[in-house]
Each structure stands twice: as structure tokens, then as C-alpha cells.
């Protein structure tokens, strides 16, 4: 293995990311080669070791305090069904409750079906009126067909029948 190849792989070698055979080969080369040994030492001493020695910073107490305030209540998938994330939370929380959602749903259903029911009812009145008109015309036809003394006599009957109908 030559120096260029060692330089190419030196980072992975230090990080233990090479397979055993390749790693042994580089170890052997570094023992023999002062230049590659210096490169490895420089990398470790100047960059890697200072970073590895650095300590974790203390977490400020305020971080958890702020998180607690923002934690969702009942953080389950079922609970989240009722949430609409686009809603600003203040003043709209009432819409996230299942009971309120059911109530709103019922109100929507009523708002849709009541006018439909009224429409159906008015349709019934129209149909009743048309049926009565049809019965009346049918009555006139039958009365004309059954007459024995001609049109005028029947015409006189019509007037009487109309008056009787409306009475």
C-alpha cells in the first residue's frame, strides 16, 4: 500500500470504518512510514481529539418548562382525529372536543334535512291538487259521454256540477 492510498483512507481508518484486513495493512504502513504517521497524529491531535473531549452542555431548565406548556393533551392518534392543526389554539379548543364535534354534526344534518322534508311536504300538496284536477276533468268527460240529449243539456249540467264541486 502506498502513501496516497493511506491518505485516502486515513479518516475511515481512524474512525474504525474499514474492514479488518485493510485496517491491518494501514497499521503496518503507518508503523514503517513517518510521513503517514505524522498525518495521522496531526489529524488526531488537532481536530479529532479536541472534538471528542468536548463536553455536553447543561440544558437550561427553561427548555422543559416551555415544552410542558406546549405538550398536546391526550397525545394519541385517536385524540388527534379531532384536532385541526391549522386552527389557532386560543378560542377554538371547543371545536376539538368529540362531544362538540358530534353536536355540530347533528346541527348540520338538521340544517340539511329540515328544508328537504318541507320541500317533500309541499310536493305532496301539489300532487293532491293535480290529482283532484284530473278527477274533475275525468268527471266532465264521463258526464259528456253519458249525456242523452246533446251538448246544451250537458253544458247546463256542467255548471251545476262545477258549483257542486266547489261547494
Amino acid at each position: 500500500m502506498d502513501c496516497e492510498r493511506v491518505k485516502e483512507l486515513i479518516n475511515e481508518y481512524i474512525d474504525g470504518e474499514l474492514d479488518e484486513d485493510l485496517s491491518k495493512e494501514i497499521t503496518g504502513h503507518i508503523k514503517r512510514c513517518a510521513s503517514c504517521r505524522a498525518i495521522k497524529s496531526e489529524l488526531l491531535d488537532e481536530v479529532i481529539i479536541p472534538l471528542r473531549k468536548s463536553e455536553r452542555p447543561a440544558v437550561p431548565v427553561s427548555v422543559w418548562e416551555n415544552i410542558k406548556e406546549r405538550l398536546p393533551k391526550g397525545n394519541t392518534r385517536e385524540a388527534r382525529i379531532w384536532e385541526y392543526r391549522g386552527f389557532p389554539s386560543a378560542g377554538f379548543n371547543i371545536f376539538r372536543r368529540p362531544a362538540m364535534a358530534a353536536l355540530i354534526g347533528a346541527a348540520v344534518l338538521l340544517a340539511v334535512f329540515v328544508p328537504v322534508a318541507l320541500e317533500m311536504r309541499s310536493g305532496y300538496l301539489v300532487n293532491t291538487f293535480l290529482r283532484e284536477q284530473a278527477d274533475f276533468l275525468s268527471y266532465l268527460d264521463n258526464s259528456y259521454a253519458e249525456g242523452e240529449n246533446g251538448y246544451l243539456m250537458n253544458a247546463a249540467d256542467i255548471g251545476t256540477d262545477i258549483e257542486e264541486y266547489f261547494l
Binding site: N11, V47, K53, A58, V63, L71
Partner: protein, 198 residues
């Protein structure tokens, strides 16, 4: 949800038990706090190393945990919860750097007083620690956020290349390249005081 909860039936997930995760999924405050205590150190450390600003790091840490608790019911255990939290923390920090910090035209500079080490985890003397932190700040300040994230995960957090690839959702060869380029850049900077930007 039933399937997710059945996955949590037994056994620990790293140092946080599946029972704790199950409770946190149901919004149990105590369980959420346990998860926070388990991972807040690494989240805040990553956030602080990437943003280089204490108040930005606090914001990133808060956003990270809000995302963690919100997405916990969707966690599928394809990776460890630690890797998953690392991923959320790093992505939140990188997005913060790309977004908010950019809006503010903020230059990344590491102040001397941003690092207060955790208590009881300080084997080095005060002077040695300060000197080392100064060196770390100098080194990280020379890298752009993407390269910095790779170096932080590898050299400070000790993740393998494969884990970094999973956390950053990038190819492992990209991880190799970034680490190599970042370290070469830092060595050149130390040798010659050159900083051509990375």
C-alpha cells in the same frame, strides 16, 4: 394505533422502556418527562453545536421535543428511538439555520460563554476545559452547517458513518466525503490559517 401499541408490548428500547413510550403516546406527562430527561442532553448539545447560539439552541431543542412527542405514535421502531430523536434534532437545527438565521442575516460566531458543561461530567480542569472548548468552537466555526452536522455527529456524539447516514438521510459515501473534506479543511486552516470556506 392498536398495531403500534402491540409493538410496544414488551422489552426496552435503548434506555427508555417501551412502556414509557406507550404512556407518552397516550399523553402521559411523566413519561414525556422521562424521555426528555433521557435525550435532552444530546438534543441540546447537537442544537448548540450546530446553531452556535444558546437561545437558538433552546428554541431548536424545544421544537425538537414538541415534534418528538407529537410524532411518537407514528414511530415505527425501524431505527432506535435515539437515532430517530437525533434525526429530528439535526434536521430541526439545520432547518433553523437555513431559515430563521438566514432571515436575520446572522453570522455564526461561537461566543465564549455559550457552553456551560453538565454537572458531574467534568473530568477536565477548568482551564483545560476552556482551552478545549475554544479549540472546538474555532474548528466548528470554520464549517458550514451540513459539514458541521457530520463532524458533530461523528466526533462529538460518536455515531458511526452508517448511523450518520441514517440520521441525515444521506448516502454513506456522502458521509465519508463530508467527513474527509471537513477534516482536510480544518487541518489546512490550522496549518496555514487559510479559510477558503466550506
Amino acid at each position: 394505533m392498536t398495531r403500534i401499541l402491540s409493538n410496544l408490548a414488551e422489552g426496552p428500547v435503548n434506555d427508555i422502556s417501551k412502556g414509557t413510550i406507550k404512556k407518552a403516546c397516550r399523553g402521559d406527562g411523566g413519561a414525556c418527562e422521562e424521555i426528555y430527561k433521557g435525550y435532552s442532553g444530546l438534543v441540546f448539545s447537537v442544537a448548540l453545536r450546530i446553531t452556535a447560539d444558546r437561545s437558538d439552541a433552546e428554541e431548536v431543542a424545544q421544537e425538537t421535543f414538541i415534534k418528538v412527542f407529537s410524532a411518537l405514535p407514528d414511530f415505527r421502531f425501524r431505527s432506535s428511538i435515539k437515532s430517530w430523536i437525533y434525526r429530528i434534532a439535526v434536521n430541526t437545527a439545520l432547518n433553523f439555520m437555513r431559515g430563521e438565521a438566514k432571515k436575520r442575516q446572522k453570522k455564526v460566531t461561537y461566543d465564549d460563554d455559550i457552553f456551560t458543561p453538565q454537572k458531574g461530567n467534568n473530568p477536565a480542569s477548568g482551564l483545560e476545559r476552556k482551552e478545549n472548548e475554544k479549540a472546538v468552537r474555532t474548528l466548528l466555526g470554520r464549517l458550514n452547517p451540513d459539514f458541521r452536522a457530520c463532524i458533530v455527529l461523528r466526533d462529538i456524539e460518536g455515531l458511526s458513518y452508517k448511523e450518520i447516514s441514517s440520521v441525515l438521510n444521506i448516502n454513506i459515501n456522502t458521509v465519508r466525503t463530508r467527513i474527509k473534506r471537513a477534516r482536510t479543511h480544518l487541518i489546512n486552516y490550522i496549518r496555514e490559517g487559510e479559510d477558503h470556506g466550506l
